[in-house]
């Protein structure tokens, strides 16, 4: 393989490119760097409203990325990821209300991830022994139970109204640096948008590497055939718990960004519907693919305004129009499961794959 590359007539650039993309880790790294550059260009050129929309795409994609790994690659269904997002959001809220400073954002993200990792471990230990509908039911119960905790401990967690969150201050050195590079001030909205997209790139880089590593192969083996995986020396429980913990950590980090962006953590933001639409996004995008998670998150962000406006144009009341978005999400989910269970990305890959083989057959 390497000899054919060096023999090719084109010069150093292709060789370097081949070297850069030789292993999955390098490929993912190149993709991450390109992603960061694109994000920088986009965020600097769009309006504040678009920036906040993009923030929501990023944090939903972080949570969806964790979920798609858990469900698509490890075969565990979780209807409770909204609960882990709530854990992350409330952790972020409690820290941000008490602390402020240049380094508060990384602290918040790390703490939210750590707490949700811990909760994910506790739930994961139980979940690892469940399968199929039992796991679905248990995580469904989790999604319903967690908002109740915020009500029960209302003196600390704000009860029904939730906790308002001061937006984190933009560190001065970062503001100065950005002004030096772009000539624009770093507004608070843009700052959070940068945080959420940078986090997305980091998380997806890590998840992509995990997925193509030995750990990812073990998760797939457990999903496809428990007995064969166990015979091959894989500890089923450990693989399942690890997948659950990784996925919960992603959801917790996403919840922290959500809290910073929306400046509130309230039980009404983490209903069962959030968990279910998150799962829908992953299914529509394509289970087990990070690209699918990103597409699903983008659909969840951009479809509701379009559909709601359509409803208003058709003469529905604003309350009715607001319900059109979940209706469309639900209908899409049902259609995808019935007609293209691989989702958008999975179906596209399958189509490209079969076309490639058809061509080879002609030759």
């Amino acid at each position: 393989m390497s000899t054919s590359v060096t023999k090719s007539p084109s010069t150093g650039i292709t060789t370097k490119w081949a070297q850069l993309t030789a292993t999955p880790v390098r490929r993912h790294f190149v993709a991450a760097v390109i992603g960061l550059i694109v994000i920088f260009a986009v965020l600097e050129s769009v309006s504040t409203f678009r920036q906040s929309q993009l923030t929501s795409v990023a944090y939903l994609a972080i949570a969806a990325g964790g979920l798609t790994l858990l469900t698509g690659i490890n075969g565990q269904l979780s209807l409770g990821h909204g609960a882990f997002m709530a854990v992350g959001a409330y952790t972020a809220a409690l820290i941000l209300r008490a602390q402020d400073g240049s380094w508060v954002v990384p602290v918040v993200l790390l703490a939210a991830t750590a707490v949700s990792t811990l909760v994910g471990f506790v739930v994961g230990v139980a979940a690892a022994r469940l399968h199929g509908p039992y796991l679905a039911g248990a995580t469904l119960a989790l999604a319903v139970a967690v908002p109740g905790l915020a009500l029960y401990f209302s003196e600390y967690l704000g009860g029904e109204q939730g906790l308002t969150i001061p937006s984190p201050a933009v560190p001065t050195f970062l503001d100065d640096a950005m002004f030096f590079i772009t000539g624009n001030d770093l507004s608070s909205t843009k700052f959070i948008s940068y945080i959420s997209w940078t986090l997305l790139v980091v998380v997806f880089f890590l998840l992509a590497n995990v997925s193509s590593s030995r750990i990812g192969r073990r998760w797939r083996a457990v999903r496809d055939d428990e007995v064969a995986a166990e015979l091959a020396g894989i500890d089923l429980g450990r693989a399942r718990i690890l997948a659950f913990v990784v996925s919960a950590a992603c959801a917790g980090a996403a919840g922290a960004v959500l809290a910073m962006a929306s400046r509130i953590a309230a039980p009404s933001g983490f209903t069962l519907v959030l968990s279910l639409t998150l799962l829908s996004a992953v299914v529509i995008g394509g289970l087990g693919t990070l690209a699918g998670a990103l597409i699903g998150a983008a659909l969840l962000t951009y479809i509701p305004p379009v559909v709601t406006n359509l409803g208003l144009d058709l003469g529905l009341s604003s309350l009715q129009s607001a319900e059109l978005a979940p209706l469309v999400t639900g209908v899409f989910t049902v259609l995808v499961i019935l007609f293209a269970p691989l989702g958008l990305v999975g179906s596209y890959r399958k189509w490209r794959f079969t076309r490639k083989f058809a061509r080879k057959g002609e030759k």
């Binding site: 075969g75 119960a141 319903v144 139970a145 428990e226 069962l272 499961i337 019935l338 269970p341």
Partner: protein, 292 residues
Amino acid sequence: MQQLLTILLNGVTSGMIYAAFALALVLIWRSTRIVNFAQAPMAMLTTYIALVVIDAGYSYWIGFAAALVSGLILGALVERLVIRFVDSSSHINAVILTLGLFIVIHALAAIIFGNQFRSFPAPFGLTGRTIGDMNIALTGYDIFKVVAVLIVFGLLVLLFRFTDLGLKMRASAFEQEVAKLLGVRVSRMLTLGWALAAVVGSLAGLLIAGGSLVHPGYMDSIVVFGFVAAVLGGLDSPGGAVVGGLLMGIGLSFVSGYLGQDLVALAALIILIVVLLLRPSGLFAGTAARRV
């Protein structure tokens, strides 16, 4: 003493309703190996239909009947038009499908009937009675709940034990291929199973709604309680579902009475996990063989 009695009575009446809902889940699980999470919004939808009929000036009983009949139709339609076509090679597909239906029916109800709380009438009194110097929190409506659920259980037992149709349904749930060879129209039996389950679910929805408020999400926590009750009973046994429902009702009533309403769902989660860790096949299941 009085509080204890009140909690027990509440537990038994709500337990009967959880039992009915658990039974609806078990009926579908036995015939198609699917846990129908969409059962909750389906029951919510039929309860709204009853509310519309009652608000139009008809009596409670006509609304009651309308809800049960529409439950029958809705259950059959969902099975015929949607569930039948799922690719069941992966068990995840069917679960996600019922969740998709969950979102769809939820949103439809919110669009058609509005997203606000509406009160639902009760056919019997909602005041307790006094015996001696003790108040007993057993209302006329509570008695009606228990009796209604018992009647439905009785009818189901009659259907499955003593009729030809019930035998055919049991046969198609037990062994599809063999039932087909013996001339049972299995696909019809599956549709009928879904329809019957939806009727039982609708009954649970109606009974919970009576004398209280309805809202597109009012059944969301009930599906969790019903599911836990069904799992307590082994998910496969109708009798177990009833006992599981009663246990859940009493247990959650104690949590709600002594610890607080907000922890009820968490208690259900803890009960579920403890039961699944200690006896994964439920309290009443026989030895289950899992095919590898």
